[in-house]
Amino acid sequence: MKNSIIYFLFIGATVLVSGNYACTISSPNKQGENLYLANCATCHGDNGEGLRNLYPPLADADYLKLHRSELSCIIKNGMTHPIVVNGKNFHMPMPAADKLNAVEIHNILNYICNSWDNEMEYFTPKEVESQLKKCQ
């Protein structure tokens, strides 16, 4: 009986250790990544690559740096006006993600702005909140 307890403890520990390990090494911003995959990746691609001239890329995108102060509201309200990303024209409605709260938007922003060759200064919660207050 004692043996069986040790056996199950061993199996349990192995599962726990391998699970946790996978989480810590894959991404420093797991919530941001998961939210991105659930809400954005269908259009912008799992790696931010976009889709031809229909959905703009987020990977290595100049638009993120040039429009830093607008990003929270773009996520919250979507956008409809024509834009230029990395020299390419895009014009297609992006739907609002009105179910996302400020913390979630914050995590998504820090994820996309520091993935796929984007290297931007991290957003603080304050910065995101003040952007959201000024959304049209």
């Binding site: 043996n3 069986s4 269908t42 691609g45 889709l51 409605p93 739907p95």
Partner: protein
């Protein structure tokens, strides 16, 4: 007790070792004819794709005549779909590019949003994806007609105000052969399923 450990260990191994990616694709097995069958006077009558009458992105009338004697792939979508369609389109483009050198293979993307997806919208969408006629037709038509025939195309399509974007539908790609029989389908959001689907299409194109 000892046997119990052995049993559990064996069980764990079995579950950890079955890798769905390793299932071997049978290159020689003929693609089945899918759908319900009827038996008439000793002959088997197979399910066929429905008749249809659509308008494509170039305002041209599209009927099954266009695909007479050649295979084609059908999906249901709409241009403002916020959920699965963008992924399906990315995968379908992969299929389209793969068969670039097979001009006989047609593509039919049926919009389920007849209200918003007017011809000029479909044209814009196709242009932005960089695909289009003569091989890929983005079509609209009479709304009731589109919903009525969805089932016979193995598709689910219905209006649903609670669904994101206002429509409920699936992301399947359906393969139809030159005799209008349905021969294969896959979940267009799953790249691995689409890889197998590409092999199915290759197999169909090799059929005499």
């Amino acid at each position: 007790m000892k046997y119990c450990f052995l049993f559990i260990t064996a069980l764990l191994f079995t579950f950890s070792c079955v890798d769905p990616d390793k299932v071997v694709y049978d290159e020689n097995a003929r693609l089945p004819i899918l759908g319900e069958r009827a038996f008439v006077n000793g002959d088997t009558v197979y399910h066929t794709a429905p008749d249809f009458n659509f308008i494509n992105q170039d305002s041209i009338n599209i009927t099954p005549d266009l695909f007479a004697n050649r295979p084609y792939i059908v999906d249901y979508f709409f241009t403002t779909c916020p959920t699965i369609c963008p992924r399906v389109k990315a995968e379908e483009i992969r299929v389209f590019d793969h068969f670039e050198k097979n001009p006989t293979l047609g593509f039919l993307s049926v919009s389920i949003d007849a209200g918003k997806d007017k011809v000029y919208k479909l044209k814009d969408y196709a242009d932005k994806l960089g695909v289009g006629t003569p091989r890929w037709h983005f079509v609209t038509g009479d709304e009731d007609h589109i919903y009525d025939i969805a089932n016979d195309f193995f598709h689910i399509a219905q209006k649903d105000p609670d669904a994101p974007g206002g429509f409920d539908h699936d992301g399947r790609l359906i393969l139809i052969d030159k005799n209008k029989n349905i021969r294969a389908f896959c979940d267009g959001t799953d790249p691995k399923a689409v890889d197998i689907f590409i092999k199915d299409v290759e197999k169909l194109l090799r059929e005499k």
